[in-house]
């Protein structure tokens, strides 16, 4: 089956079996390996991507469902001006939110998704927003710190106009 997706702003064409999941399409056919497989049943969130701006587990989405739609993966998250980290990614670095790093691409996307819909989340809301993303290393606290700090900074920036 032929697939055409807008991935990280770039139109990508590929051919894959019709039953390919979005996760495998991204990893095996488009070679975007920043999206990880942790459980393949939609429990761990390591495969999180944004589909038309909405956070999904790409292991549970058929590539066919994503056909013609817009997908954002970790490879599409970076600073506006260059390929370096954006403010949320930099906060993950600064707050020690990263250990083994395997869940981190999904966590970053979950954080972005939250901040898009709720620019001023409290810690409980942040915890709820990343509850679908399992991390076995960090205990989540520094991840929550990083998302919270980014929210505050983005708000300050916006209020300055």
């Amino acid at each position: 089956m032929k697939f055409t997706l807008l991935v990280n702003g770039i139109k990508m064409n590929t051919e894959a079996p019709a039953d390919t999941s979005l996760l495998y399409l991204l990893r095996d056919y488009l070679h975007l390996t920043g999206t990880k497989e942790g459980c393949n049943i939609g429990e761990c969130g390591a495969c999180s991507v944004l589909l038309d701006g909405k956070l999904v587990n790409s292991c549970l989405i058929l590539a066919a469902q994503a056909n013609g739609r817009e997908v954002k993966t970790i490879e599409g998250v970076h600073a506006l001006e260059n390929d370096g980290p954006n403010d949320l990614q930099q906060a993950f670095i600064d707050y020690g939110a990263v250990q083994c790093g395997f869940c981190i691409p999904g966590m970053v996307l979950a954080g972005e998704s939250l901040l898009n819909s709720n620019p001023n989340p409290n810690r409980t809301e942040i915890r709820a927003a990343i509850a679908g993303n399992l991390c076995r290393c960090t205990g989540y606290q520094q991840i929550v710190d990083a998302i919270q700090a980014t929210a505050v900074k983005r708000q300050e920036k916006n209020s300055r106009g």
């Binding site: 390996t33 942790g38 990263v98």
Partner: protein, 786 residues
């Protein structure tokens, strides 16, 4: 401590950028031309004799490139340490559901699945042992490869046993005013690293050599296993650590099997071979934290002075011994907790069963026994109506005490400081006063009850008397005046690459950004033993410091040459070297001078741990050269209508010595406590007649961000003389006391002390288990081969 530039200062993880950008490559992210996919056919029976294996059907399928069994290896692929009782692929018998029998490499997944289905394995089921309490009965079926005696020996399933002895505890217990006697049980725990097992092997063209990418506890152990079981030479095998997506002790034996299987498949097929585990395969095939049954009797005087401790533990090693002889030894050493006694006796039996198999998991035997002793000690406090922290302070080990093992401790003992600190930061005294002790008879059903509990921990540093204990590192200055640092120890995410970078930068007085710390590779790093036992900071840190001091001496020699002065006259200011005439030279100038003087800008450092000794016969000695100390307080809210426990507050104080990498140490504490919270409340690998009942994250629950409160972590930074810049370890001890702290808090809330982990809904609510209906084989094996 002297003023430092980098040690203990805010720093960021050296690999954080790659990880947040998604560019850090894990083994599943590697793809090379002509790469085959591979998988193992695994046993679906818990115990059976292999009557025959017919692989011709699989071999005849086009696109199948290699099919291997134990016959393709030296000595039937036998391996294992310290006891060699395991195979890379099963030989003659399978001993647990998930035991690998045949490995196949093929062009793609479809061909691979067809090939797995085409293998004919004739298995004759054998009776199994599923209850570790019955494993040593005279009529128990024998599980192990080489039971220590012939069939019929009354203790045929005994892997090994250990003792600790001090005085005559029975006599002392008879004179005690109060004794607590109870049985405590813990369940198998799954490591649940989010990255499952996997490996990639690439054969070298025109030779017998192979390069293996494998996320494992030690690339050197992987290499040696490949050499031994495939029959290769040292120079034929290179093992490279890709990024590791979490390990927690779990990427040992199973990963050595996987690495060896892909190496052999690559050598047979002549093509690169990748093997990746599904989550189901990972949970079924990998080893767990062992389950333990513990009988404990502790006696005290009326004033709360602990007098004697008797412990008997049965460790379920499962189908293979793996590293369990060492975890069980650590259990034995730590079974009486960080307390003083007049007498004690510890007996630990490690037994074979057909319940998967057990191995290393963060805490390494201490996690289980800490739960038991910290509940028992708490129970004594409760019966004597003493404050639980006061009772612990009254009895805990102090500097220069002699332990129950007969070990005289040093001045670094810091448990009093940890208890006092955690008491303060948790506002313990106020909370204990405000929250009344729960009483099951008084609780109205549906009432929410709050409780607060404490647990203390000591944890022997590094390997102890398990074996030789050393680490090594290398440091060199490259042509562009950057530095390359290596260690034989792996950073799974705990932060050791950053710690070593900071130590080297501090020692050399240079910007950490100049230093590039490599991941371990058997061709570039020096063997340092396995990255286990929270040994990275002390062992690898000392080795790094040693290498850096040697390089520093070389550079000072060059600076002295440049300034025409004595080495002792050279001062440092930032990266600059200052001569007696206050003439500064940059780092680059000094390095150039060193080159002109013909000095070799490459050093090695090795650090041997101080000597330990243990007498297995007398059950005494000096098991570890020193210990980490800590104390944690948990606050819980229990819904007495449903049994749901919410952890609402958490405080920890740990004796880390000098903190080298602050955000890393905090991350270890937060992460460890979270794993311990899962162990306390929800994590449970259930083997039913040998069939694992939890094979993915829908059934095996680990804590989410919603299950953990904000944690307050603090450190007792009493410098440790044997540690680099005074540092101690932290990785494991953060986890160990979490379960007993939470269970003791539940007791405070409800008056019910939960003696079987985990404290799931029904145990909290009605004090016993409810059984799942249905067949034990209905679990989702997900082995993709039926």
């Amino acid at each position: 401590m002297a003023k430092t530039q980098f040690i203990g200062k805010p720093a960021t993880r050296v690999d954080a950028l790659e990880k947040v950008m998604g560019t850090a490559k894990f083994v599943a992210d590697y793809s090379v031309p002509n790469m085959l996919v591979s998988r193992c056919l695994r046993s679906t029976l818990p115990h059976a004799r292999i009557l025959s294996i017919d692989i011709t059907g699989a071999q005849n399928i086009p696109g199948v490139r290699a099919v291997i069994t134990s016959e393709d290896f030296v000595n039937h692929s036998r391996f294992g340490f310290p006891i060699e009782d395991m195979y890379m692929l099963a030989y003659q018998r399978v001993r647990f559901v998930g035991d690998p029998i045949v490995a196949i490499a093929a062009d793609n997944e479809d061909i691979l699945l067809a090939a797995l289905a085409a293998v004919k394995v004739d298995l004759e089921p054998l009776p199994g042992v599923f209850d570790p309490r019955l494993a040593l009965q005279p009529d128990a079926p024998l599980v192990g490869e080489n039971p220590r005696e012939a069939e019929g020996h009354p203790r045929g399933n005994l892997v090994i046993d250990y003792i600790v002895r001090q005085g005559d505890p029975d006599a002392v217990l008879r004179d005690c005013d109060i004794t607590v006697e109870a049985e405590y049980t813990t369940m198998h725990q799954e490591h649940a690293y989010i990255e499952t097992e996997g490996a990639l092997a690439i054969p070298w063209p025109g030779s017998s050599g192979v390069t293996i990418y494998a996320p494992c506890q030690s690339p050197f152990i992987a290499k040696n296993n490949v050499i031994k079981t495939i029959g290769l030479e040292q120079e034929d095998v290179r093992v490279i650590q890709p990024y590791v997506g979490g390990a927690f002790g779990g990427k040992d034996d199973t990963m050595y099997q996987t690495a060896t299987q892909v190496a052999k498949l690559a050598l047979v097929s002549g093509q690169p071979v990748q093997m990746l585990f599904s989550r189901e395969e990972s949970m079924i095939a990998s080893y767990k934290r062992d389950a333990m049954v513990m009988q404990l009797k502790v006696g005290a005087k009326k004033d709360g002075t602990l007098q004697a401790c008797k412990f008997h533990g049965i460790v379920d090693s499962g189908a293979y011994s793996a590293i369990t002889p060492f975890t069980a030894w650590r259990s034995s050493i730590h079974a009486m907790g960080p307390y003083r006694y007049q007498a004690c006796a510890v007996d630990t039996d490690v037994v074979y069963t057909n319940n998967g198999y057990a191995g290393a998991f963060r805490g390494f035997g201490n996690t289980e026994v800490c739960y038991a002793i910290e509940l028992a000690v708490d129970e004594i406090a409760s019966r004597l109506k003493m404050d639980p922290i006061d009772l612990r302070l009254k009895n805990c080990l102090r500097p220069f005490d002699t332990t129950s093992h007969g070990q005289r401790l040093g001045e670094d003992v810091a448990i009093v400081e940890c208890l006092e600190q955690v008491r303060k930061i948790s506002d313990w005294d106020r909370r204990r006063k405000e929250i009344p002790q729960g009483d099951p008879k008084q609780i109205r059903p549906g009432e929410f009850r709050r409780g607060i509990g404490v647990a203390a921990v000591f944890h022997g540093i590094s390997l102890g008397a398990e074996g030789k204990d050393f680490a090594a590192g290398t440091l060199r200055i490259n042509d562009d005046n950057t530095l390359t640092l290596t260690s034989g120890l792996t950073d799974y995410g705990a932060g050791s690459r950053t710690v070593y970078t900071l130590i080297a930068a501090e020692t050399l007085g240079i910007d950490p950004n100049r230093i590039h710390m490599l991941r371990p590779d058997t061709d570039t790093a020096l063997d340092s033993g396995p990255t286990v036992a929270s040994r990275a900071t002390i062992m690898g840190g000392n080795a790094t410091q040693e290498a850096a001091m040697r390089l520093d001496t070389i550079l000072l020699t060059a600076a002295a040459g440049l300034f025409h002065c004595q080495m002792v006259e050279v001062l440092r200011e930032g990266e600059n070297y200052i001569g007696p005439n206050e003439e500064p030279a940059t780092f680059d100038q000094v390095v150039d001078q060193a080159r002109q003087m013909g000095l070799v800008l490459s050093t090695q450092g090795r650090w041997n741990a101080p000597e330990n000794h243990w007498s297995f016969e007398s059950g005494s000695g000096k098991p570890y050269f020193a210990y980490h100390y800590g104390a944690q307080v948990a606050e819980v809210l229990v819904d007495t209508g449903t049994g749901k426990v919410e952890v609402t507050g958490y405080w920890a104080a740990h004796n880390t010595g000098t903190v080298i990498f602050p955000q890393g140490v905090l991350g270890q504490v937060f992460g460890g406590i979270t794993q311990g919270l899962g162990y306390a409340l929800m994590e449970r690998v259930d083997y039913d007649q040998g069939y694992i009942q939890t094979t993915n994250f829908d059934e095996y629950l680990i804590p989410t961000a919603m299950d953990v409160p904000d944690i307050v972590g603090t450190f007792v930074e009493k410098p440790f003389a044997d540690g680099p810049y005074g540092a101690k370890n932290i990785a494991e001890p953060g986890l160990v006391p979490a379960a007993p702290a939470i269970i003791n808090a539940i007791y405070h809330a409800t008056g019910r002390r939960i003696q079987n982990l985990p404290a799931n809904l029904e145990r909290v609510l009605i004090g016993k288990d409810l059984r799942k209906e249905g067949s034990n084989t209905a679990c989702k094996l997900g082995l993709h081969q039926e």
